[in-house]
């Protein structure tokens, strides 16, 4: 019995966690549909703040990372495939490695590190200070005022950051291709365009939607789950990072398998 219980406990915890996540998502969607027009400016202001922190403030970091990654990807490709006409596969390599996989995935990792942690810590502190209870008691629905704008803010930010990540990686890749093989911009862009397919865009959009939901709701779940003391805050932040990373990698695998397997 003890052995069975030790097997069942983590499964039960995981199912409870999934149930909590589903409840958060459904409640947020439900209350989003009941928002009144006169409440939109208040919720919109909160979403703008989240976009500024998650998107705008992370733009330089994301673009810098992508620029280096795009360049490094092509340096490695050229070093291994220099005898095989690697310059003919520039576009395919960029699309396969950057657009399809690393763009959405690394953007999500950066957002988890910068923003999911901040959201979990902020909501945890608010919970401990009684701010969430005070909001609810005074007629300010926390699903509408706290969760919805964070979700929307992360969604818009992840989408924008993925676009900037891909564009910066292209710039990095082009610079290497230009310096190494004298590739022209026209040839480089044609090569990328030929390799890109509609399903790449569809897969990226689906990943953006799923990743941003996973990031926002993992952070909200662990942040709002804090009840007793300040010492729970770093624990919640750590759990948010680990759990959101696992979710993002899992979703990435599922979407990739769905579109390309």
């Amino acid at each position: 019995m003890g052995f069975l219980a030790s097997l069942g406990a983590p499964v039960r915890r995981f199912l409870v966690f999934l149930g909590d996540q589903a409840h958060l998502v459904l409640q947020t969607l439900r209350y989003a549909l009941t928002l009144r027009l006169d409440q939109l400016p208040v919720v919109g202001a909160q979403a703008r703040l989240q976009i500024r922190f998650t998107g705008l403030d992370a733009l330089l970091l994301t673009c810098g990372t992508a620029l280096l990654l795009g360049g490094v990807t092509l340096i490695q490709a050229f070093s291994q495939l220099s005898g095989l006409g690697a310059e003919n596969y520039i576009g395919l390599l960029m699309v396969l490695i950057i657009f399809r996989e690393l763009g959405p995935l690394l953007t999500a990792v950066l957002v988890i590190g910068r923003s999911a942690t901040a959201i979990a810590a902020e909501l945890g502190t608010m919970q401990l200070n009684g701010e969430v209870d005070a909001l609810a008691a005074h007629g300010v629905n926390p699903y509408q005022y706290l969760l919805l704008p964070r979700w929307l803010g992360v969604l818009v930010s992840v989408f924008a950051l993925v676009v900037f990540f891909d564009a910066s990686a292209l710039v990095g890749g082009f610079l290497v291709a230009r310096l190494k093989h004298g590739v022209t911009l026209g040839f480089f862009m044609d090569s990328v365009r030929d390799a890109l397919m509609n399903r790449d865009l569809a897969a990226t959009l689906l990943k953006v939607a799923l990743f941003s939901g996973a990031i926002a709701f993992h952070a909200c779940h662990y942040g709002l789950g804090i009840r007793r003391s300040q010492t729970e805050i770093p624990q919640a932040v750590t759990k948010t990072v680990v759990s959101a990373l696992v979710a993002v990698f899992l979703l990435d695998g599922l979407v990739t398998a769905f579109f390309y397997f």
Partner: protein, 224 residues
């Protein structure tokens, strides 16, 4: 206005506080919840406000079921509730003005009208000069007064005050007491206060509910 039926509450550590509480308050009635620290006064207020689910029992405010149900979320747009917590409760990332304005804006008031009402409520407590400051930038006393200003600006149907004079500086007590007396005398407003002993509220026309530690099952509150 307020109905609690067979209410049972637990402390945050899981210890039972009391069970079988029956409570019924008409609109305009006042209730003093009295008892020593740790007997569950704050927990009771939070359950009545819909921010803490009870172990069992039913709570209804203004004809709206809070428990069983979704708590305070069910009151939005139906019953205005104002709660002054013993400590905390102000949004730390908003100015005092925005803290007062937010419930008004969310309730559908225009920005201009909400700011005007917030400024008047803050000025009443001498907080006009610090209205643009965040809670951490003002004294604990000012934070408590800002909580009162938030409730006063909201003009709620049900006012709940947890340890109403805790943290109020001596120079501000008269203003706070005046406001509470006015709420208590208002036939359209229901007032619930929790404190260890009645003190300055001994003469308040209110029913009294005595809680005691050790799982007491309180009966219907005595009449004034």
């Amino acid at each position: 206005m307020l109905l609690a039926d067979d209410l049972a509450l637990d402390a945050p550590d899981g210890r039972p506080l009391f069970s079988g509480l029956h409570l019924s308050l008409e609109p305009g009635a006042n209730l003093l919840v009295l008892g020593p620290g740790g007997c569950g006064k704050s927990q009771l207020l939070r359950a009545l406000a819909g921010t803490l689910p009870p172990r069992s029992g039913r709570v209804r405010v203004g004809g709206v079921d809070l428990w069983p149900g979704e708590g305070a979320l069910a009151l939005a747009g139906r019953v205005r509730l104002g709660f002054v917590f013993a400590q905390g409760g102000l949004l730390s990332n908003q100015t005092l003005r925005d803290n007062v304005t937010l419930p008004l804006r969310f309730g559908g008031m225009s920005a201009g009208e909400a700011v005007g009402r917030a400024e008047r409520a803050l000025s009443r407590f001498g907080l006009g000069a610090v209205a643009g400051f965040r809670p951490h930038a003002v004294s604990a006393g000012a934070r408590k007064l800002a909580s009162y200003a938030r409730v006063a600006a909201l003009e709620p149907d049900l006012v709940i005050l947890d340890d109403p004079l805790e943290g109020v500086e001596s120079g501000d007590r008269a203003e706070v007491l005046d406001l509470i007396q006015a709420w208590a005398a208002d036939p359209a407003r229901t007032l619930v206060l929790a404190l260890e002993d009645p003190g300055p509220f001994a003469g308040l026309p209110a029913r009294r509910l005595h809680l005691a530690p050790g799982g007491l099952s309180p009966s219907d509150p005595e009449q004034p």
